[in-house]
């Protein structure tokens, strides 16, 4: 269980995350949704200790991340950020092997190597394992980083927009993979997602943020509703039930929102 208690972050005078208190349940997939600038990524960065918080506490299985040893946390919780650029020229397999560092401390054993090969296999990277990262497409690189996080084999996996750069097929297989990790291996997966329909189809729990606050949370059925979504995104979104899942149709937008977002030449 991840307990987030009254966490805040401000840059200068603009408050990005404003006193968020939230309990993320163990096991299953939790998706965080919300418009740009809602503070989703910032919250995830603070939970994963990449970003110091101004106020508040985060506890992972009762361990306060501010005091706990970093290497202990690295065996419980892993994070994948949106933009991953590495100045070192690595092959995919070398990168994924780094995922074992918290366990092997730089001396991978046979068991570690097995983990690496399995993670490469899960993400369909067998054929690319010896290619350099800078020779891959954005989507392939994204999958390599997810493989590294998977290899870290932590109970909690936090992923900031893992579907970035992925085509439809790979996006679906990524979500299925994460669903499998949650169902078969009992992992807790926390995602920041922009596509509400992926959130609807694959999450157990959805958290909606806006202006640095959590404004709604609950099951996909409770959140993917026109009135709730309008409040989150300022957009009229029709919701249809397809295959038993609520699916938001947002492509057409709504008159009022369009007028607001696209000011005329006079401002």
């Amino acid at each position: 269980m991840i307990e987030i208690e009254n966490v805040s972050k401000a840059y200068g005078r603009s408050v990005v995350v404003d006193g968020v208190t939230l309990t993320l349940p163990s096991r299953g997939i939790t998706s965080i949704i919300g418009p740009n600038g809602a503070g989703k990524s910032t919250l995830l960065s603070m939970v994963s200790r990449l970003l110091p918080m101004d106020r508040g506490h985060v506890r992972v299985d009762g361990l306060d991340i501010a005091d706990a040893a970093s290497d202990v946390l690295a065996r419980r919780l892993s994070i994948l950020r949106q933009d991953n650029s590495i100045s070192v020229r690595l092959t995919v397999r070398e990168l994924v092997t780094f995922g074992r560092y918290p366990h092997s401390k730089g001396r991978p054993t046979a068991a570690d190597r097995e983990h690496v090969e399995r993670a490469l296999g899960y993400l369909g990277l067998d054929g690319l394992a010896d290619r350099f990262l800078d020779e891959l497409s954005g989507g392939q690189r994204q999958r390599a980083f997810v493989a590294m996080v998977l290899c870290q084999d932590t109970d909690y996996m936090l992923l900031d927009e893992p579907l970035n750069n992925l085509d439809m097929k790979h996006a679906v297989s990524m979500m299925q993979l994460l669903r499998g990790a949650a169902d078969e291996f009992g992992k807790t997966v926390v995602l920041v997602l922009h596509d509400i329909n992926f959130a609807s189809c694959y999450s157990d729990h959805i958290v909606a943020m806006r202006d640095g606050r959590v404004i709604h949370q609950g099951s996909p059925e409770a959140l993917i509703r026109p009135d709730v979504l309008a409040e989150i995104y300022d957009l009229d979104i029709a919701v249809e039930t397809i295959g038993g899942r609520p699916i938001g149709i947002y492509y057409l937008g709504s008159g009022s929102a369009r007028r607001q977002q696209m000011p005329g030449p006079n401002g």
Binding site: S48, R49, L50, A69, S70, D71, V72, L73, A74, R75, S78, I79, L80, R81, N84, S85, I86, S87, V88, R89, L90, E94, F98, G99, Y101, P102, K105, G106, R107, V149, Q152
Partner: protein, 318 residues
Amino acid sequence: MARHRPTIVLVLLSLLALAAMAAFMTVGAKGQWSFVLPFRGIRLAALLLVAYAVAVSTVLFQTITNNRILTPSIMGFDALYILIQTVVVFAFGSAHLASLGPNVLFVVEVAVMVAFSALLYRWLLSGDVRGLHLLLLVGVIFGALFRSLSNLMQRMIDPLDFAVLQDRFFASFNTVHSEILGMAGLAVVAVSVAGWRLFRTFDVLALGRENAINLGLEHRRLISVVLVLVTILVSVSTALVGPVTFFGLLVANLAYQLAGSPRHGVVLPVAILLAVICLVGGQIVLQHLFAFDTALSVVIEFLGGITFILLLLSRTRR
């Protein structure tokens, strides 16, 4: 082939380095061996210390800053060391300092240097200052500031003190300051022992702050420790032969190209061997073939400067 490349490169470079050292000790020796060997041995030891210090400090600095263009010298570290030397003489007077002896003085200067660079450079490299070009600019300005301050003080100083200072600054590859060799060697050994215990973390640090934290490193503490090690190494090389701005850049980038692996287990030894070959080999060639005097640093700076410009250009094109 690709798998064995690091081994092949290491063996070849080791042989070249050994050949250069043997040649340095023996080529053109005319006098008694009992005089030649110790005489040249001391200079060789100084060159080896400098090669090691410059190579290791540059590679580690680039590892913690995650870039391959900035080096401690470009960021003004050695200018800061010169400034500290000047300030110490300015504040206490050379007569007072002479009684301390060069070794004590060296230790004091290194200690002040570590304290100052920890203050100055830690915030600069902690991630608050974004962008390579801004860092580069700040580094160049730091260097100019430190040099100007040293110059100013050298003009205000007692002429006798100035003579003493000038003697200390005229260190070069030909007039190595060998009186602090023992203390410098000790410092390098201490740094290496401390570095050895962190060795496995270097590869992870090179992945950048966020990946390093995710993989369980105490990133902030490690960066500070490595910065202290780098500072001591820069002090050693500057005290022995004076500032060499682009030499580290040259060997580090050649090492990345040649090593065929980003692992520090390969890159660091390759960089050290390259530095030894360049310094010792270059010194032999210039001494015996051209009978030049202070030209080695000029040649190295020339080649290093060209490397620097090429790296900058290729970075902007990408």
